[in-house]
Protein backbone atom coordinates (compact mmCIF):
# COMPACT_ATOMS: atom_id res chain seq x y z
CA UNK A 1 0.00 0.00 0.00
CA UNK A 2 1.29 3.43 -0.86
CA UNK A 3 2.83 5.44 1.94
CA UNK A 4 0.40 8.21 2.84
CA UNK A 5 1.49 11.62 1.67
CA UNK A 6 0.09 13.26 4.77
CA UNK A 7 -0.46 11.59 8.09
CA UNK A 8 -2.04 13.31 11.09
CA UNK A 9 -1.66 11.52 14.39
CA UNK A 10 -3.84 12.63 17.31
CA UNK A 11 -3.43 16.21 16.20
CA UNK A 12 -4.68 18.88 18.56
CA UNK A 13 -4.49 22.66 18.36
CA UNK A 14 -5.51 24.51 21.47
CA UNK A 15 -5.67 28.26 21.98
CA UNK A 16 -5.81 29.99 25.32
CA UNK A 17 -8.39 32.71 25.41
CA UNK A 18 -9.14 35.32 28.00
CA UNK A 19 -7.19 35.82 31.15
CA UNK A 20 -6.02 39.21 32.46
CA UNK A 21 -8.88 41.46 33.54
CA UNK A 22 -11.78 39.32 32.42
CA UNK A 23 -11.03 36.50 34.81
CA UNK A 24 -10.54 32.84 33.99
CA UNK A 25 -8.44 31.64 31.14
CA UNK A 26 -10.27 29.27 28.82
CA UNK A 27 -8.93 26.79 26.34
CA UNK A 28 -10.33 26.81 22.84
CA UNK A 29 -9.83 23.32 21.47
CA UNK A 30 -10.04 24.24 17.84
CA UNK A 31 -8.73 20.85 16.76
CA UNK A 32 -9.16 18.10 19.30
CA UNK A 33 -7.45 14.81 18.48
CA UNK A 34 -7.64 14.31 14.71
CA UNK A 35 -6.29 11.23 12.93
CA UNK A 36 -6.25 11.53 9.20
CA UNK A 37 -4.27 10.48 6.20
CA UNK A 38 -4.16 11.49 2.58
CA UNK A 39 -2.64 9.24 -0.08
CA UNK A 40 -0.80 10.62 -3.11
CA UNK A 41 -3.17 11.66 -5.88
CA UNK A 42 -6.21 11.37 -3.66
CA UNK A 43 -8.83 14.02 -2.97
CA UNK A 44 -10.03 14.17 0.61
CA UNK A 45 -13.14 16.20 1.18
CA UNK A 46 -13.27 17.93 4.56
CA UNK A 47 -16.75 19.00 5.54
CA UNK A 48 -17.94 21.08 8.45
CA UNK A 49 -19.57 24.28 9.52
CA UNK A 50 -18.21 27.23 11.48
CA UNK A 51 -16.25 26.35 14.55
CA UNK A 52 -15.49 22.82 13.40
CA UNK A 53 -11.79 23.54 13.14
CA UNK A 54 -11.23 22.84 9.46
CA UNK A 55 -9.45 26.11 8.81
CA UNK A 56 -7.26 25.71 11.88
CA UNK A 57 -6.47 22.19 10.74
CA UNK A 58 -5.41 23.50 7.35
CA UNK A 59 -3.13 26.10 8.90
CA UNK A 60 -1.57 23.48 11.16
CA UNK A 61 -0.87 21.18 8.22
CA UNK A 62 0.79 24.08 6.44
CA UNK A 63 3.03 24.63 9.41
CA UNK A 64 1.61 28.08 10.15
CA UNK A 65 0.22 27.17 13.56
CA UNK A 66 2.17 24.93 15.93
CA UNK A 67 0.18 21.92 17.16
CA UNK A 68 -0.47 21.55 20.87
CA UNK A 69 -0.32 17.81 20.64
CA UNK A 70 0.22 15.06 18.09
CA UNK A 71 2.23 14.65 14.93
CA UNK A 72 2.00 15.85 11.38
CA UNK A 73 4.00 13.82 8.91
CA UNK A 74 4.54 14.85 5.29
CA UNK A 75 5.95 12.21 3.00
CA UNK A 76 6.98 10.19 5.98
CA UNK A 77 8.90 12.99 7.64
CA UNK A 78 7.61 14.88 10.62
CA UNK A 79 6.67 18.47 9.84
CA UNK A 80 8.52 20.03 12.72
CA UNK A 81 11.78 18.65 11.43
CA UNK A 82 11.29 19.68 7.82
CA UNK A 83 12.58 23.00 6.74
CA UNK A 84 10.20 25.67 5.65
CA UNK A 85 11.35 25.68 2.05
CA UNK A 86 10.97 21.95 1.57
CA UNK A 87 7.48 22.10 3.06
CA UNK A 88 6.62 24.91 0.66
CA UNK A 89 7.51 22.67 -2.24
CA UNK A 90 5.30 19.89 -0.93
CA UNK A 91 2.14 21.49 0.44
CA UNK A 92 0.36 24.59 -0.84
CA UNK A 93 -2.96 26.29 -0.36
CA UNK A 94 -5.71 27.90 -2.38
CA UNK A 95 -7.59 30.51 -0.37
CA UNK A 96 -11.25 31.31 -0.10
CA UNK A 97 -11.34 35.02 -0.77
CA UNK A 98 -9.96 35.87 -4.20
CA UNK A 99 -10.15 39.56 -3.37
CA UNK A 100 -7.79 39.35 -0.42
CA UNK A 101 -5.45 36.59 -1.47
CA UNK A 102 -3.34 38.50 -4.00
CA UNK A 103 -0.88 41.28 -3.24
CA UNK A 104 -2.51 44.32 -4.83
CA UNK A 105 0.85 45.89 -5.58
CA UNK A 106 2.37 43.02 -7.52
CA UNK A 107 1.80 42.08 -11.09
CA UNK A 108 0.70 38.56 -11.82
CA UNK A 109 4.11 37.83 -13.27
CA UNK A 110 5.85 38.85 -10.09
CA UNK A 111 3.43 36.93 -7.90
CA UNK A 112 4.29 33.79 -9.85
CA UNK A 113 7.95 34.40 -10.55
CA UNK A 114 9.13 35.43 -7.09
CA UNK A 115 8.49 32.05 -5.47
CA UNK A 116 10.42 30.35 -8.25
CA UNK A 117 13.38 32.62 -7.75
CA UNK A 118 13.16 32.20 -4.02
CA UNK A 119 13.40 28.47 -4.45
CA UNK A 120 16.49 28.65 -6.53
CA UNK A 121 15.38 28.86 -10.14
CA UNK A 122 17.98 31.35 -11.27
CA UNK A 123 17.73 31.10 -15.01
CA UNK A 124 15.54 33.95 -16.21
CA UNK A 125 14.31 32.15 -19.27
CA UNK A 126 13.25 29.19 -17.23
CA UNK A 127 11.36 31.39 -14.79
CA UNK A 128 9.54 33.12 -17.63
CA UNK A 129 8.77 29.85 -19.28
CA UNK A 130 7.32 28.30 -16.17
CA UNK A 131 5.27 31.40 -15.40
CA UNK A 132 3.75 31.45 -18.87
CA UNK A 133 3.18 27.75 -18.79
CA UNK A 134 1.30 28.01 -15.51
CA UNK A 135 -0.82 30.91 -16.74
CA UNK A 136 -1.87 28.87 -19.74
CA UNK A 137 -2.65 25.88 -17.54
CA UNK A 138 -5.10 27.90 -15.46
CA UNK A 139 -6.77 29.39 -18.50
CA UNK A 140 -5.25 32.86 -18.56
CA UNK A 141 -3.58 34.64 -21.46
CA UNK A 142 0.08 35.72 -21.68
CA UNK A 143 -0.91 39.37 -21.73
CA UNK A 144 -2.46 38.92 -18.32
CA UNK A 145 0.96 38.51 -16.78
CA UNK A 146 1.75 42.19 -16.50
CA UNK A 147 -1.55 43.27 -15.01
CA UNK A 148 -2.48 43.96 -11.42
CA UNK A 149 -5.04 42.00 -9.39
CA UNK A 150 -7.65 44.73 -9.36
CA UNK A 151 -7.91 44.44 -13.12
CA UNK A 152 -9.32 40.93 -12.86
CA UNK A 153 -12.70 39.44 -11.98
CA UNK A 154 -13.18 37.18 -8.96
CA UNK A 155 -12.97 34.03 -11.04
CA UNK A 156 -9.80 35.15 -12.75
CA UNK A 157 -8.22 36.10 -9.44
CA UNK A 158 -8.96 32.66 -8.15
CA UNK A 159 -7.23 31.20 -11.20
CA UNK A 160 -4.19 33.32 -10.36
CA UNK A 161 -4.35 32.03 -6.80
CA UNK A 162 -4.41 28.47 -8.12
CA UNK A 163 -1.48 29.21 -10.40
CA UNK A 164 0.48 30.53 -7.46
CA UNK A 165 -0.28 27.46 -5.42
CA UNK A 166 0.90 25.17 -8.19
CA UNK A 167 3.94 27.06 -9.44
CA UNK A 168 6.27 25.14 -7.14
CA UNK A 169 4.75 21.84 -8.21
CA UNK A 170 3.60 20.67 -4.78
CA UNK A 171 2.23 17.23 -4.11
CA UNK A 172 -0.63 18.26 -1.82
CA UNK A 173 -2.88 21.27 -2.20
CA UNK A 174 -5.31 22.37 0.47
CA UNK A 175 -8.27 24.13 -1.12
CA UNK A 176 -10.08 26.16 1.50
CA UNK A 177 -13.59 26.87 0.20
CA UNK A 178 -12.18 27.70 -3.24
CA UNK A 179 -15.52 28.58 -4.83
CA UNK A 180 -17.76 29.91 -2.04
CA UNK A 181 -16.85 33.52 -2.67
CA UNK A 182 -17.39 33.26 -6.42
CA UNK A 183 -20.47 33.90 -8.50
CA UNK A 184 -22.58 30.82 -8.95
CA UNK A 185 -22.25 30.74 -12.73
CA UNK A 186 -18.48 30.48 -12.64
CA UNK A 187 -18.07 27.97 -9.87
CA UNK A 188 -18.24 25.09 -12.33
CA UNK A 189 -15.33 26.57 -14.29
CA UNK A 190 -13.10 26.60 -11.24
CA UNK A 191 -14.13 23.14 -10.02
CA UNK A 192 -13.46 21.67 -13.46
CA UNK A 193 -10.11 23.43 -13.55
CA UNK A 194 -9.10 22.07 -10.16
CA UNK A 195 -9.99 18.54 -11.19
CA UNK A 196 -8.15 18.82 -14.49
CA UNK A 197 -5.02 20.11 -12.83
CA UNK A 198 -5.20 17.36 -10.25
CA UNK A 199 -5.12 14.71 -12.95
CA UNK A 200 -2.57 16.52 -15.08
CA UNK A 201 -0.12 17.19 -12.29
CA UNK A 202 -0.79 14.17 -10.09
CA UNK A 203 -1.82 16.24 -7.09
CA UNK A 204 -3.53 15.26 -3.87
CA UNK A 205 -6.16 17.64 -2.56
CA UNK A 206 -7.77 18.37 0.73
CA UNK A 207 -10.97 20.05 -0.38
CA UNK A 208 -12.50 22.02 2.46
CA UNK A 209 -16.06 23.02 1.77
CA UNK A 210 -19.43 23.35 3.40
CA UNK A 211 -21.10 22.69 0.04
CA UNK A 212 -21.86 18.98 0.05
CA UNK A 213 -22.62 18.93 -3.66
CA UNK A 214 -19.10 20.10 -4.43
CA UNK A 215 -17.59 17.70 -1.92
CA UNK A 216 -19.42 14.71 -3.33
CA UNK A 217 -18.39 15.64 -6.83
CA UNK A 218 -14.67 15.99 -6.26
CA UNK A 219 -13.74 13.73 -3.35
CA UNK A 220 -12.43 10.19 -3.21
CA UNK A 221 -12.82 10.10 0.52
CA UNK A 222 -14.67 12.37 2.91
CA UNK A 223 -14.15 13.37 6.54
CA UNK A 224 -16.82 15.23 8.50
CA UNK A 225 -15.76 17.51 11.34
CA UNK A 226 -17.73 18.95 14.22
CA UNK A 227 -16.30 21.18 16.95
CA UNK A 228 -12.72 20.01 16.52
CA UNK A 229 -13.33 16.31 16.06
CA UNK A 230 -13.81 14.05 13.10
CA UNK A 231 -17.22 12.48 13.50
CA UNK A 232 -17.33 10.39 10.35
CA UNK A 233 -14.90 9.28 7.71
CA UNK A 234 -15.09 7.06 4.67
CA UNK A 235 -15.35 6.75 0.90
CA UNK A 236 -17.48 9.37 -0.84
CA UNK A 237 -20.21 7.00 -1.80
CA UNK A 238 -20.52 5.46 1.64
CA UNK A 239 -20.69 8.79 3.37
CA UNK A 240 -23.42 10.13 1.14
CA UNK A 241 -25.46 7.00 0.64
CA UNK A 242 -25.07 5.43 4.07
CA UNK A 243 -24.18 8.12 6.58
CA UNK A 244 -23.78 6.69 10.04
CA UNK A 245 -23.39 9.82 12.13
CA UNK A 246 -26.45 11.97 12.90
CA UNK A 247 -24.51 15.12 12.10
CA UNK A 248 -23.65 13.88 8.61
CA UNK A 249 -27.29 13.04 8.13
CA UNK A 250 -28.27 16.48 9.37
CA UNK A 251 -25.91 18.12 6.88
CA UNK A 252 -27.37 16.12 4.05
CA UNK A 253 -30.93 16.79 5.21
CA UNK A 254 -30.20 20.50 5.33
CA UNK A 255 -29.59 20.68 1.60
CA UNK A 256 -32.73 22.08 0.02
CA UNK A 257 -34.12 19.73 -2.56
CA UNK A 258 -36.92 21.09 -4.69
CA UNK A 259 -38.25 17.63 -5.38
CA UNK A 260 -38.57 16.42 -1.83
CA UNK A 261 -40.18 19.21 0.09
CA UNK A 262 -41.49 18.56 3.60
CA UNK A 263 -40.21 15.04 3.43
CA UNK A 264 -40.80 13.29 6.75
CA UNK A 265 -37.55 11.35 6.64
CA UNK A 266 -35.63 14.50 5.90
CA UNK A 267 -37.38 16.36 8.70
CA UNK A 268 -36.45 13.68 11.22
CA UNK A 269 -32.79 13.86 10.27
CA UNK A 270 -32.45 17.59 10.70
CA UNK A 271 -30.48 18.99 13.59
CA UNK A 272 -32.13 21.55 15.79
CA UNK A 273 -30.62 24.40 17.72
CA UNK A 274 -27.42 26.31 17.24
CA UNK A 275 -23.87 25.13 16.82
CA UNK A 276 -22.25 25.26 20.25
CA UNK A 277 -19.24 27.40 20.90
CA UNK A 278 -15.88 25.69 20.67
CA UNK A 279 -14.93 27.49 23.86
CA UNK A 280 -17.54 25.64 25.83
CA UNK A 281 -18.34 22.42 24.01
CA UNK A 282 -21.07 20.16 25.39
CA UNK A 283 -19.83 17.23 27.49
CA UNK A 284 -19.58 13.77 26.00
CA UNK A 285 -20.45 13.79 22.33
CA UNK A 286 -20.24 17.42 21.22
CA UNK A 287 -23.27 17.01 18.99
CA UNK A 288 -25.63 15.71 21.68
CA UNK A 289 -27.71 18.86 22.35
CA UNK A 290 -28.75 18.97 18.71
CA UNK A 291 -28.98 15.29 17.99
CA UNK A 292 -32.31 13.66 17.18
CA UNK A 293 -30.95 10.39 18.59
CA UNK A 294 -29.64 11.75 21.86
CA UNK A 295 -29.57 9.40 24.81
CA UNK A 296 -28.02 9.57 28.29
CA UNK A 297 -24.89 7.74 27.13
CA UNK A 298 -24.19 10.56 24.74
CA UNK A 299 -23.64 13.05 27.53
CA UNK A 300 -21.49 10.83 29.68
CA UNK A 301 -19.39 8.83 27.18
CA UNK A 302 -17.44 10.35 24.34
CA UNK A 303 -18.03 8.08 21.34
CA UNK A 304 -14.86 7.02 19.55
CA UNK A 305 -14.27 6.99 15.82
CA UNK A 306 -14.76 3.30 15.13
CA UNK A 307 -15.34 1.21 12.05
CA UNK A 308 -18.80 0.40 10.74
CA UNK A 309 -17.42 -1.12 7.56
CA UNK A 310 -14.05 -1.40 5.89
CA UNK A 311 -12.67 2.12 5.59
CA UNK A 312 -15.84 3.71 6.99
CA UNK A 313 -15.77 5.00 10.55
CA UNK A 314 -18.20 6.98 12.67
CA UNK A 315 -18.01 8.45 16.17
CA UNK A 316 -21.50 7.71 17.42
CA UNK A 317 -22.92 5.27 19.91
CA UNK A 318 -25.60 4.48 17.38
CA UNK A 319 -23.27 4.02 14.45
CA UNK A 320 -24.72 0.69 13.50
CA UNK A 321 -28.13 2.15 12.85
CA UNK A 322 -28.81 2.80 9.23
CA UNK A 323 -30.79 5.93 8.35
Amino acid sequence: MAEPLLKLDDLAVHFTVGGSLRGSVKTLKAVDGVNLDVKPGECLGLVGESGCGKSTLALAIMGLIPPSRGRIALGGQELAKRDRMATARTVQMVFQDPYASLNPRQTVRRTLADPLRLHGVANRTEVDHRVMDMLAKVGLRPDHADRYPHEFSGGQRQRIGIARALILQPKLVICDEPVSALDVSIRAQIINLLLELKDEMGLAYIMISHDLGVVEHVSDRVAVMYLGRIVEQGGWQEIFEDPRHPYTRALIAAIPDPFHRADAVVARAKAHGEIASALNPPPGCHFNPRCPLKADRCVSDVPLLEAVADGHRAACHFRDRRS
Binding site: E49, R187, P256, P258, E274
Partner: protein, 325 residues
Protein backbone atom coordinates in the same frame (compact mmCIF):
# COMPACT_ATOMS: atom_id res chain seq x y z
CA UNK B 1 -57.93 35.07 -10.24
CA UNK B 2 -58.19 37.38 -7.23
CA UNK B 3 -56.18 40.60 -7.09
CA UNK B 4 -52.55 39.77 -6.44
CA UNK B 5 -51.07 41.19 -3.26
CA UNK B 6 -48.13 42.71 -5.09
CA UNK B 7 -47.85 43.41 -8.76
CA UNK B 8 -44.72 44.81 -10.35
CA UNK B 9 -45.14 45.94 -13.97
CA UNK B 10 -42.30 46.89 -16.29
CA UNK B 11 -40.20 48.19 -13.45
CA UNK B 12 -37.22 50.23 -14.56
CA UNK B 13 -34.52 51.36 -12.16
CA UNK B 14 -31.94 53.87 -13.30
CA UNK B 15 -28.41 54.25 -11.99
CA UNK B 16 -26.85 57.66 -12.42
CA UNK B 17 -23.19 57.20 -13.29
CA UNK B 18 -20.60 59.86 -14.08
CA UNK B 19 -22.30 61.66 -16.92
CA UNK B 20 -24.50 58.76 -18.11
CA UNK B 21 -27.54 56.95 -16.80
CA UNK B 22 -27.59 53.18 -16.86
CA UNK B 23 -30.62 50.97 -16.55
CA UNK B 24 -29.82 48.70 -13.69
CA UNK B 25 -33.19 46.96 -13.94
CA UNK B 26 -35.50 46.90 -16.98
CA UNK B 27 -38.92 45.54 -17.89
CA UNK B 28 -39.22 43.57 -14.69
CA UNK B 29 -42.73 42.26 -14.12
CA UNK B 30 -44.04 39.73 -11.64
CA UNK B 31 -46.96 39.11 -9.31
CA UNK B 32 -47.20 37.69 -5.83
CA UNK B 33 -50.52 36.40 -4.56
CA UNK B 34 -51.73 36.62 -0.97
CA UNK B 35 -49.80 34.25 1.27
CA UNK B 36 -47.69 33.02 -1.65
CA UNK B 37 -43.98 32.32 -1.51
CA UNK B 38 -42.23 33.75 -4.56
CA UNK B 39 -38.54 33.50 -5.31
CA UNK B 40 -36.24 35.87 -7.18
CA UNK B 41 -32.94 34.26 -8.12
CA UNK B 42 -29.82 35.70 -9.67
CA UNK B 43 -26.13 36.36 -9.18
CA UNK B 44 -24.56 39.42 -7.66
CA UNK B 45 -25.20 42.49 -9.73
CA UNK B 46 -28.29 41.16 -11.52
CA UNK B 47 -30.57 43.69 -9.86
CA UNK B 48 -32.60 41.47 -7.56
CA UNK B 49 -31.78 43.35 -4.38
CA UNK B 50 -32.49 46.77 -5.80
CA UNK B 51 -35.81 45.49 -7.12
CA UNK B 52 -36.72 44.63 -3.54
CA UNK B 53 -35.53 48.01 -2.32
CA UNK B 54 -37.69 49.66 -4.97
CA UNK B 55 -40.75 47.83 -3.67
CA UNK B 56 -39.90 49.06 -0.17
CA UNK B 57 -39.32 52.58 -1.39
CA UNK B 58 -35.78 52.47 -0.11
CA UNK B 59 -33.84 53.37 -3.23
CA UNK B 60 -31.41 56.21 -2.74
CA UNK B 61 -29.34 58.27 -5.12
CA UNK B 62 -27.76 57.32 -7.50
CA UNK B 63 -30.54 54.73 -7.91
CA UNK B 64 -34.13 55.70 -8.66
CA UNK B 65 -37.31 54.23 -10.11
CA UNK B 66 -37.36 55.46 -13.69
CA UNK B 67 -40.46 53.72 -14.96
CA UNK B 68 -43.06 51.03 -14.44
CA UNK B 69 -45.53 50.45 -11.65
CA UNK B 70 -45.50 48.86 -8.23
CA UNK B 71 -49.02 47.99 -7.13
CA UNK B 72 -49.77 46.83 -3.59
CA UNK B 73 -53.29 45.43 -3.29
CA UNK B 74 -54.55 47.52 -6.15
CA UNK B 75 -52.87 50.73 -5.00
CA UNK B 76 -49.93 52.18 -6.92
CA UNK B 77 -47.02 52.94 -4.61
CA UNK B 78 -44.07 53.68 -6.88
CA UNK B 79 -44.67 57.41 -6.52
CA UNK B 80 -45.76 57.36 -2.90
CA UNK B 81 -44.37 60.05 -0.63
CA UNK B 82 -41.77 59.15 1.98
CA UNK B 83 -44.37 59.58 4.71
CA UNK B 84 -46.75 57.18 2.98
CA UNK B 85 -43.99 54.62 2.51
CA UNK B 86 -43.05 54.87 6.18
CA UNK B 87 -46.61 53.93 7.08
CA UNK B 88 -46.43 50.91 4.85
CA UNK B 89 -43.08 49.68 6.03
CA UNK B 90 -43.29 47.41 9.04
CA UNK B 91 -47.03 47.31 8.93
CA UNK B 92 -47.75 45.98 5.48
CA UNK B 93 -44.35 45.22 3.97
CA UNK B 94 -41.36 44.11 6.01
CA UNK B 95 -37.83 43.23 4.99
CA UNK B 96 -34.99 41.19 6.42
CA UNK B 97 -31.41 41.32 5.21
CA UNK B 98 -28.36 39.15 4.90
CA UNK B 99 -26.32 40.64 7.72
CA UNK B 100 -28.41 40.89 10.87
CA UNK B 101 -25.47 42.36 12.72
CA UNK B 102 -25.67 45.51 10.66
CA UNK B 103 -29.46 45.60 10.60
CA UNK B 104 -29.84 45.42 14.38
CA UNK B 105 -28.97 48.31 16.66
CA UNK B 106 -25.88 47.18 18.55
CA UNK B 107 -26.63 49.45 21.49
CA UNK B 108 -30.16 48.31 22.21
CA UNK B 109 -31.30 45.00 23.75
CA UNK B 110 -33.08 42.82 21.23
CA UNK B 111 -36.29 42.67 23.27
CA UNK B 112 -36.56 46.41 23.09
CA UNK B 113 -36.00 46.43 19.34
CA UNK B 114 -38.89 44.04 18.86
CA UNK B 115 -41.07 45.94 21.33
CA UNK B 116 -40.48 49.14 19.38
CA UNK B 117 -42.52 47.70 16.54
CA UNK B 118 -45.59 47.35 18.75
CA UNK B 119 -45.15 50.77 20.28
CA UNK B 120 -44.61 52.55 16.97
CA UNK B 121 -47.14 50.83 14.76
CA UNK B 122 -49.81 49.65 17.16
CA UNK B 123 -49.68 52.24 19.93
CA UNK B 124 -48.97 49.69 22.62
CA UNK B 125 -47.48 50.70 25.97
CA UNK B 126 -43.88 49.69 26.64
CA UNK B 127 -44.81 47.13 29.25
CA UNK B 128 -47.33 45.50 26.99
CA UNK B 129 -44.90 45.67 24.11
CA UNK B 130 -42.10 43.96 26.05
CA UNK B 131 -44.45 41.11 26.94
CA UNK B 132 -45.42 40.73 23.34
CA UNK B 133 -41.73 40.86 22.40
CA UNK B 134 -41.08 37.89 24.65
CA UNK B 135 -43.90 36.05 22.91
CA UNK B 136 -42.48 36.95 19.55
CA UNK B 137 -39.12 35.46 20.53
CA UNK B 138 -40.88 32.32 21.62
CA UNK B 139 -42.60 32.10 18.26
CA UNK B 140 -39.29 32.22 16.44
CA UNK B 141 -38.10 29.43 18.71
CA UNK B 142 -35.43 31.25 20.62
CA UNK B 143 -34.79 29.19 23.77
CA UNK B 144 -35.31 30.95 27.12
CA UNK B 145 -36.94 34.02 25.59
CA UNK B 146 -37.48 35.67 28.97
CA UNK B 147 -33.70 35.91 29.33
CA UNK B 148 -32.89 36.64 25.69
CA UNK B 149 -34.98 39.80 25.55
CA UNK B 150 -32.33 41.53 27.59
CA UNK B 151 -29.44 40.39 25.40
CA UNK B 152 -27.60 42.68 23.02
CA UNK B 153 -27.13 41.61 19.40
CA UNK B 154 -23.44 40.85 19.81
CA UNK B 155 -24.23 38.32 22.51
CA UNK B 156 -26.26 36.21 20.12
CA UNK B 157 -25.12 33.84 17.41
CA UNK B 158 -25.79 34.54 13.73
CA UNK B 159 -28.77 32.22 13.63
CA UNK B 160 -30.29 33.78 16.74
CA UNK B 161 -29.90 37.25 15.36
CA UNK B 162 -31.66 36.27 12.20
CA UNK B 163 -34.52 34.89 14.28
CA UNK B 164 -34.71 38.25 16.05
CA UNK B 165 -34.85 39.93 12.65
CA UNK B 166 -37.70 37.68 11.65
CA UNK B 167 -39.51 38.45 14.91
CA UNK B 168 -39.16 42.18 14.29
CA UNK B 169 -40.28 41.85 10.71
CA UNK B 170 -43.33 39.76 11.48
CA UNK B 171 -44.27 41.59 14.68
CA UNK B 172 -47.10 43.59 13.16
CA UNK B 173 -48.31 40.89 10.85
CA UNK B 174 -47.33 42.40 7.50
CA UNK B 175 -48.89 41.19 4.27
CA UNK B 176 -45.54 40.75 2.57
CA UNK B 177 -42.14 39.75 3.90
CA UNK B 178 -39.16 40.47 1.67
CA UNK B 179 -36.12 38.39 2.55
CA UNK B 180 -32.87 39.39 0.84
CA UNK B 181 -30.34 36.57 1.14
CA UNK B 182 -31.39 35.96 4.75
CA UNK B 183 -29.39 32.80 5.21
CA UNK B 184 -26.34 33.31 3.03
CA UNK B 185 -24.15 34.20 5.98
CA UNK B 186 -25.32 31.26 8.08
CA UNK B 187 -24.12 27.69 8.40
CA UNK B 188 -25.96 25.08 6.40
CA UNK B 189 -27.77 23.38 9.28
CA UNK B 190 -28.81 26.69 10.78
CA UNK B 191 -29.85 27.92 7.35
CA UNK B 192 -32.20 25.02 6.92
CA UNK B 193 -33.86 25.72 10.28
CA UNK B 194 -34.31 29.40 9.58
CA UNK B 195 -35.88 28.71 6.21
CA UNK B 196 -38.26 26.18 7.74
CA UNK B 197 -39.15 28.69 10.44
CA UNK B 198 -39.85 31.43 7.95
CA UNK B 199 -42.01 29.19 5.81
CA UNK B 200 -43.98 27.97 8.81
CA UNK B 201 -44.59 31.37 10.37
CA UNK B 202 -45.60 32.95 7.11
CA UNK B 203 -47.95 30.13 6.29
CA UNK B 204 -49.54 30.46 9.74
CA UNK B 205 -49.98 34.22 9.45
CA UNK B 206 -50.89 34.30 5.77
CA UNK B 207 -47.88 36.45 4.99
CA UNK B 208 -46.56 36.35 1.44
CA UNK B 209 -42.80 36.00 0.97
CA UNK B 210 -40.54 37.48 -1.66
CA UNK B 211 -37.39 35.39 -1.26
CA UNK B 212 -34.25 36.73 -2.89
CA UNK B 213 -31.17 34.58 -3.23
CA UNK B 214 -28.38 33.40 -5.50
CA UNK B 215 -29.14 29.82 -4.43
CA UNK B 216 -31.58 28.35 -6.93
CA UNK B 217 -32.01 25.16 -4.95
CA UNK B 218 -32.92 26.99 -1.77
CA UNK B 219 -35.45 29.19 -3.47
CA UNK B 220 -36.98 26.39 -5.50
CA UNK B 221 -37.43 24.35 -2.35
CA UNK B 222 -39.18 27.08 -0.44
CA UNK B 223 -41.21 28.93 -3.04
CA UNK B 224 -44.10 28.06 -5.22
CA UNK B 225 -42.91 30.11 -8.16
CA UNK B 226 -39.44 31.30 -9.07
CA UNK B 227 -38.17 34.05 -11.38
CA UNK B 228 -34.57 34.11 -12.59
CA UNK B 229 -32.88 37.45 -13.21
CA UNK B 230 -29.84 38.13 -15.33
CA UNK B 231 -28.23 41.52 -16.01
CA UNK B 232 -31.24 43.50 -14.88
CA UNK B 233 -33.98 41.50 -16.59
CA UNK B 234 -36.15 38.55 -15.72
CA UNK B 235 -35.16 35.82 -18.14
CA UNK B 236 -37.43 33.06 -16.93
CA UNK B 237 -40.24 32.49 -14.47
CA UNK B 238 -41.91 29.18 -13.73
CA UNK B 239 -43.30 26.99 -11.01
CA UNK B 240 -40.37 25.89 -8.80
CA UNK B 241 -40.12 22.29 -9.80
CA UNK B 242 -40.44 23.14 -13.47
CA UNK B 243 -37.50 25.53 -13.26
CA UNK B 244 -35.37 22.67 -12.07
CA UNK B 245 -36.78 19.85 -14.14
CA UNK B 246 -37.36 21.72 -17.40
CA UNK B 247 -35.52 25.03 -17.47
CA UNK B 248 -36.36 26.91 -20.66
CA UNK B 249 -33.71 29.61 -20.71
CA UNK B 250 -30.09 28.71 -21.47
CA UNK B 251 -28.92 30.67 -18.41
CA UNK B 252 -31.22 28.81 -16.05
CA UNK B 253 -30.26 25.58 -17.71
CA UNK B 254 -26.62 26.52 -17.26
CA UNK B 255 -27.16 27.23 -13.58
CA UNK B 256 -29.01 24.01 -13.00
CA UNK B 257 -26.49 21.92 -14.92
CA UNK B 258 -23.37 23.55 -13.61
CA UNK B 259 -23.87 22.94 -9.94
CA UNK B 260 -23.10 19.47 -8.71
CA UNK B 261 -26.09 17.88 -7.01
CA UNK B 262 -26.05 15.12 -4.45
CA UNK B 263 -26.61 11.74 -5.94
CA UNK B 264 -25.58 12.69 -9.47
CA UNK B 265 -22.17 11.09 -9.25
CA UNK B 266 -23.57 7.84 -7.89
CA UNK B 267 -26.05 7.68 -10.73
CA UNK B 268 -23.99 8.84 -13.69
CA UNK B 269 -20.37 8.73 -12.55
CA UNK B 270 -18.35 11.87 -12.31
CA UNK B 271 -19.23 14.04 -15.30
CA UNK B 272 -17.35 17.18 -16.11
CA UNK B 273 -19.54 20.01 -14.85
CA UNK B 274 -21.14 21.95 -17.67
CA UNK B 275 -19.64 25.38 -17.46
CA UNK B 276 -21.22 28.67 -18.31
CA UNK B 277 -18.47 30.42 -20.23
CA UNK B 278 -17.48 34.03 -19.65
CA UNK B 279 -18.33 36.37 -16.80
CA UNK B 280 -21.33 38.35 -15.65
CA UNK B 281 -21.27 41.63 -17.64
CA UNK B 282 -20.85 44.89 -15.82
CA UNK B 283 -23.67 47.38 -16.01
CA UNK B 284 -21.60 49.80 -18.04
CA UNK B 285 -21.01 47.20 -20.72
CA UNK B 286 -24.23 45.26 -21.22
CA UNK B 287 -24.11 43.38 -24.55
CA UNK B 288 -26.57 44.49 -27.22
CA UNK B 289 -29.44 42.24 -28.11
CA UNK B 290 -29.91 39.49 -25.57
CA UNK B 291 -27.67 40.27 -22.62
CA UNK B 292 -26.74 36.65 -22.18
CA UNK B 293 -25.59 36.18 -25.77
CA UNK B 294 -21.80 36.24 -25.26
CA UNK B 295 -22.09 33.30 -22.88
CA UNK B 296 -24.92 31.38 -24.48
CA UNK B 297 -24.31 27.95 -26.01
CA UNK B 298 -27.37 28.38 -28.23
CA UNK B 299 -26.50 31.83 -29.56
CA UNK B 300 -27.28 32.88 -33.11
CA UNK B 301 -27.21 36.15 -35.09
CA UNK B 302 -30.61 37.36 -33.98
CA UNK B 303 -29.54 37.06 -30.35
CA UNK B 304 -26.74 39.58 -30.85
CA UNK B 305 -28.90 42.27 -32.34
CA UNK B 306 -32.44 41.94 -31.07
CA UNK B 307 -33.43 41.73 -27.44
CA UNK B 308 -35.86 38.82 -27.06
CA UNK B 309 -39.50 39.47 -26.16
CA UNK B 310 -41.29 37.71 -23.37
CA UNK B 311 -42.96 34.45 -24.34
CA UNK B 312 -45.72 33.18 -22.08
CA UNK B 313 -45.46 29.63 -20.79
CA UNK B 314 -47.96 27.34 -19.13
CA UNK B 315 -49.12 28.15 -15.59
CA UNK B 316 -48.27 31.87 -15.67
CA UNK B 317 -44.69 31.14 -16.63
CA UNK B 318 -42.59 33.20 -18.98
CA UNK B 319 -39.27 33.05 -20.74
CA UNK B 320 -37.24 35.65 -22.58
CA UNK B 321 -35.25 33.90 -25.25
CA UNK B 322 -35.23 33.54 -29.02
CA UNK B 323 -34.49 29.86 -28.72
CA UNK B 324 -36.36 28.95 -25.60
CA UNK B 325 -37.39 25.40 -24.79
Amino acid sequence: MSTPLLEVRDLQIALAGDGTTYNAVEEVSFQIGRGEAFGLVGESGCGKSITALAVMGLLRRPLSVAGGRIILEGEEIQDASPAEMRRLRGRRIAMIFQEPMTALNPLSPVGRQIAEMFVLHQGASWNEAMDRAEDALRQVRVPSPERRIKDYPHQLSGGMRQRVMIAIALACGPDLLIADEPTTALDVTVQSEIIDLMAELCAAKGTAILMISHDLGLVANMCRRVAVMYAGRIVESQVAQAIFATPRHPYTRGLVDSLPRLGERARHGRQRLREIAGVVPSIAAYPSGCRFNPRCPAVSDICRSISPEVTALAADGLVRCHHHG
